[in-house]
Amino acid sequence: ELPAPLLDDKCKKEFDEDVYNHKTPESNIKMKIAWRYQLLPKMEQIGPVSSSRFGHYYDASKRMPQELIEASNWHGFFLPEKISSTLKVEPCSLTPGYTKLLQFIQNIIYEEGFDGSNPQKKQRNILRIGIQNLGSPLWGDDICCAENGGNSHSLTKFLYVLRGLLRTSLSACIITMPTHLIQNKAIIARVTTLSDIVVGLESFIGSERETNPLYKDYHGLIHIRQIPRLNNLICDESDVKDLAFKLKRKLFTIERLHLPPDLSDTVSRSSKMDLAESAKRLGPGCGMMAGGKKHLDF
């Protein structure tokens, strides 16, 4: 069920046009607002400017063509298929699912020379690993079901050994984890420490934010919880903390969340208060506001 990549030029033109339409014709008129704001960039867009294409683009409404999948060099691991196999596994104290997965990854790293053992004769490449829903019962783990399960160290041990594999080979890994199902906060803290980059996606679906006018253009919030300091004392932390995302058919955009200008004469007091209430919940940095909705004047 992989989405189809946008490969041909026709799609590229379509995409570029799409993005250019965002620029309003008034963008060249000097804004006559408070002098303080005159120098600030207009609605800062996170990421590369519209004129450059970066990364890969997909069409979420179409599937990846079968020929493309078959032509690529990829390895799949579906635990129910492997669980009864006789893949030789060294004993260790992880759940069998994690043990098999680690062995599988290590085999590929060794066989295909990503760890330098068989020098890669062809063009050097990086092994890209994707693991979905780690920690869920589909991997044989019970941390989503019980607060203090018997396998409480399995996941963190797995992550540690995986980290070791990644550090000793030419590979990178992205993992998704259903942390909303994990009740044990300590495990989430430990998982964060064992990872390099941690990004949280918070969807508006099913939450009270879905109907909030502040969020009407977006599908959810993005929280950059951790970025690494690798080979360095410093890291490049952005001072933009309020990011929201929207998923369109051909584009996944991340934008800085900003309050829309309050232009209407007839906007009611209560809707203003709703906006302020939700702004309060945006980030831990915002100070506490006085309780009681009636006291908010701005």
Binding site: E90, H153, T156, G164, A189, L233, C235, K241
Partner: protein, 266 residues
Amino acid sequence: MFVELNNLLNTTPDRAEQGKLTLLCDAKTDGSFLVHHFLSFYLKANCKVCFVALIQSFSHYSIVGQKLGVSLTMARERGQLVFLEGLKSAVDVVFQAQKEPHPLQFLREANAGNLKPLFEFVREALKPIDSGEARWTYPVLLVDDLSVLLSLGMGAVAVLDFIHYCRATVCWELKGNVVVLVHDSGDAEDEENDILLNGLSHQSHLILRAEGLATGFCRDVHGQLRILWRRPSQPTVHRDQSFTYQYKIQDKSVSFFAKGMSPAVL
């Protein structure tokens, strides 16, 4: 090492105290800059250093060490630095049966009770060589970080026991120093980590605690450092001294200033 931090701690590589346990702690921020400081400090002090590096690779510490004026590669080659690269060793231990006991042997066992093999490794690394002349000033054990051991299935008591044995050997017997980093998990309700942190706090002579600012992210002030001097062997007669400074981390150094006195604000 950061010269400004030496000044705050009133110490230099030539005249550092011996026989001490220093606890590094970070809460809601990254305290690894303190580890880099002490690693380069003790190498410059001509100490024999055993570094149990559990969370990052050798090259990471080496590259930062170069910025701070020490070469880990050369220190390792001349026998001054014994480096246990936890991540690499874990891969070796998990995927291959080892003939001899390995310091991270507990990764293969379902219910490893203690960290004895790891302690044996440290003791072997820092034992004085009977060749007559003393090449190095005194031994130092550095661990980054102890909280990882809890994630690997060791109990807090086992880790405290390990540190106890290390202190007895390194601090008391060999008159050296021990420096360890433990994360403060804050409100994550990590009981084991809290036990470990509290237990070590009581035993330490010096606690350096890096905290994120309560008000959140700031470009010019990266955090706050609390320095707590303790005298665990002389209870309560002299009150523990505590100082707080704010800091900003730069490419090759860290600058410290009194609260509210950041150059960006003045």
